[in-house]
Structure formats: C-alpha cells, structure tokens
C-alpha cells in the first residue's frame, strides 16, 4: 500500500510529466489557450493513460520482443480513437476545438513512455497508481498553464460557458500575446523558472 501511494504521488510533483520530465509538451502548449480545452485534453489523456497502462500491465508476459513497440502503440491508438469518437458524439464543441491534437494523444511521449518504462515491468496495481499519478500531475500542470494564459490573454476566466471572474483593466486591454503560440512558451518557461526559484523543482 505504501508503495502504491509512493508511485501515485511521484507523478504529481517529484517527476511531474510536464515540468520535470518535459514529456507530453505538445498538448500542454497547444490546447492550453482556454481552460475548457485543457480540462478536456487532460480528461482524454487520463482515460487513455489509465486504460493503456492497465492493459499493457496485464498482457506484458505475452508480448513478443520485436513487435513490442507496434503492439503497445496500437493499444494506445485504440483507446485514443475510442475517446475521440465519444467526444465527437457527445461533446462536439470540445472535439472541434481540440482538433488534430486529440488523435495526437497517441504520440504523446508520456503515454508510450509510461507503457514502456513502467507498465511493461510492473504489476497491475502499481501501474494503475502510476497512471493515475502521472495523469493527475499532467492535468494539474496544464490546467495551471491554461488558467494563466486565459486570464492574462482575455482578462477573464470562463469554465464551460460560465464566467468565473473578470479582471478590471485586463478585460479592456488583454495581453493577447499569451494566446499566441509564443505566449505558451513564455508562460511555461516562466512558470518553470518560478517553480525552481521556490525549490519545488530541482535545478538542472
């Protein structure tokens, strides 16, 4: 049980996939321009990571060496396609705004990385812990980036249509740089530096 908690909490801070391992950066930057997108994306990633980690952990004794990577990646792709079909059917607005980045979860280095490095070597229960921890860490990171970018970039924060708050001056003159691709790099770079300054993350 202690080991389970250890694996679970590892992904949250110590080896946070975005800030520490720098894995899965593509979605972290591409879909963090609004809070809705970030939540939708991390939900999808969580589902895919959990399912694929579980399945890989179960079938690991039977996987043959030379087709290991194709096998894992087909499993991941299957879950990604299921997610995207479900999104398309029930939350079409989110599906459209995630666009090409939804199928690209397949190549999120984090997911194959976890399947390869962790699930293919560990028991089912530990793999679940790892998947949950990693995906929660991923969610925390990209939601944080999205909140910053949306707040600074539009002067307000909305959550699936509900406006949470509006800032006085920024509302009139938003820093729209933060919504551009460059703003994504800027936000994540500064966040990373601040975390290091506070000692949350170790320096290189």
């Amino acid at each position: 049980m202690i080991k389970w908690i250890k694996e679970f909490s590892k992904g949250l801070v110590v080896s946070n996939p975005i800030f520490v391992l720098a894995l899965g950066l593509c979605p972290a930057l591409a879909v963090t321009n609004t809070l809705d997108n970030a939540i939708g994306m991390s939900g999808a990633v969580m589902f895919v990571l959990l399912c694929s980690n579980m399945l890989v952990a179960v079938i690991r004794p039977w996987v043959s060496g030379i087709v290991r990577i194709p096998t894992f990646i087909v499993i991941i792709a299957t879950f990604v396609t299921i997610v995207s079909l479900v999104f398309q059917a029930y939350i079409p607005a989110l599906y459209e705004s995630l666009g090409i980045y939804l199928p690209l979860i397949v190549v999120n280095c984090m997911i194959l990385g976890r399947a390869e490095a962790f699930a293919s070597r560990n028991k089912l229960s530990l793999s679940i812990a790892d998947a949950l921890g990693m995906s929660l860490g991923f969610m925390a990171a990209i939601v944080l980036i999205a909140v910053i970018r949306e707040t600074l970039g539009t002067g307000a924060l909305t959550f699936f249509g509900i406006t949470l708050f509006t800032l006085p001056v920024l509302d009139e003159q938003p820093v729209s740089l933060f919504l551009l691709p460059a703003g994504a790099f800027l936000a994540i770079g500064l966040l990373l530096a601040v975390f290091r300054k506070w000692g949350l993350i170790k320096n290189d």
Partner: protein, 191 residues
C-alpha cells in the same frame, strides 16, 4: 508548381510544426543541446516523414476511404509509422553500424514524435494528392530541421552566458522558443 511551392513554404515557415503547431516539441527541447545532434535528428525526422507520407497516402485513399473507415486512421497510421521506424532501425543497425551509432538513438524517439504523425494527419485533413503529400512532408521536415538547428545554435551560446540559476537549462530554452515563435508568426500571410 506554384501550388507545390505554396504548400512547401506553408509547412516549413507559416505553419511551422514546432513553433506554430507545437508538434515535435519533445525532441525540440531534448535534442537541441548540440548542433551536430540537432542536424542528425532533423535529417532522420525528414526521412521518416517522407516514408510515412508515402505509405499512408495509398492506405488512406485505397483502403480507408472506400471502406468508409476513416475513424481507424489513427490506429493504422501509427502502426505504419512504428513499423517503418523499427524496420529502418533494424536495417541501419545491421548494414551500416557507424550510421546507426550516429542516428540510432534518435530513431527510437521518432516513433513518438508528434511531427511525423502530425504530417500524415494534416495530409489527410487537407486532402492532398500524393505529390502534394510528399512536398508537404518535405516542407514540414525542413521547417522542423531549420528550427531545431537554429535553436541548438542559440542554446550552445546560452550555455556560457550568465543566467539566474533557476533560469538555466529548460526555462530559458522555452523563452528563446517564445521569441522564435514571435518571429515566425511574422511569416503568416506570406502565401
């Protein structure tokens, strides 16, 4: 001919995969510490992009579209890419080991490189013909390589500059990427 040029420039500069579309960021930050590595990596990526586009185009147009099964494209594309990468890796390892020792580690990274998968998805989304797909793959690879090489040049310089400790390494690389991204957004509207 001008159409092809427009696609090439569009993929290489305007919709630059790394800075505008955020594809292939992991190698962008991982392999951009040294200029020589960056060059090898971008060559390998361009090669795999071309191969992947060449293989996925007939699959899409002769199998998936007639079957009305385009929802399966994610699975099929990634399967094909993973296979291709593995075959190329095996082939190079056995026939030219010194090439393998230069490229090998990057090949493993390419399976999970969003840029390769991205280019095949974009080709289908835009409904490119075979030749157009190849040109777009070449453009995407060139754009990726250009940015990777530029970035590694800058990072080699950054290594010896004086920075606050918490800025060293990845954070400052992100800031550099931000500035490069701003510069590249100036290409918008070129075609």
């Amino acid at each position: 001919m001008t159409d092809l040029l427009a696609i090439f420039i569009g993929m290489a500069l305007i919709n630059n995969f790394v800075l505008v579309k955020f594809l292939g960021l992991c190698p962008f930050f991982g392999v951009s510490k040294k200029l020589t590595n960056a060059f090898s990596m971008s060559m390998a990526v361009t090669f795999v992009m071309l191969m992947a586009s060449a293989v996925t185009w007939p699959i899409t147009h002769y199998i998936l579209i007639p079957l009305d099964a385009e929802y399966l494209r994610t699975v099929v594309y990634i399967l094909v890419i993973a296979t291709l990468v593995q075959i190329i890796e095996l082939f190079i390892m056995r026939t030219n080991y010194s090439l393998y020792s230069a490229f090998g580690i990057y090949l493993a990274l390419i399976t999970t490189n969003c840029a390769v998968m991205g280019v095949t998805l974009v080709n289908t989304d835009e409904g490119f013909t075979f030749v157009e797909s190849m040109v777009s793959a070449l453009g995407a690879g060139t754009g990726f390589g250009l940015v990777l090489v530029l970035m590694s040049g800058i990072r080699e310089r950054l290594e010896i500059s004086q920075l606050p400790d918490s800025m060293k390494g990845l954070p400052v690389a992100f800031l550099v990427a931000a500035l490069m991204g701003l510069a590249f957004s100036g290409f918008a509207g070129m075609v």
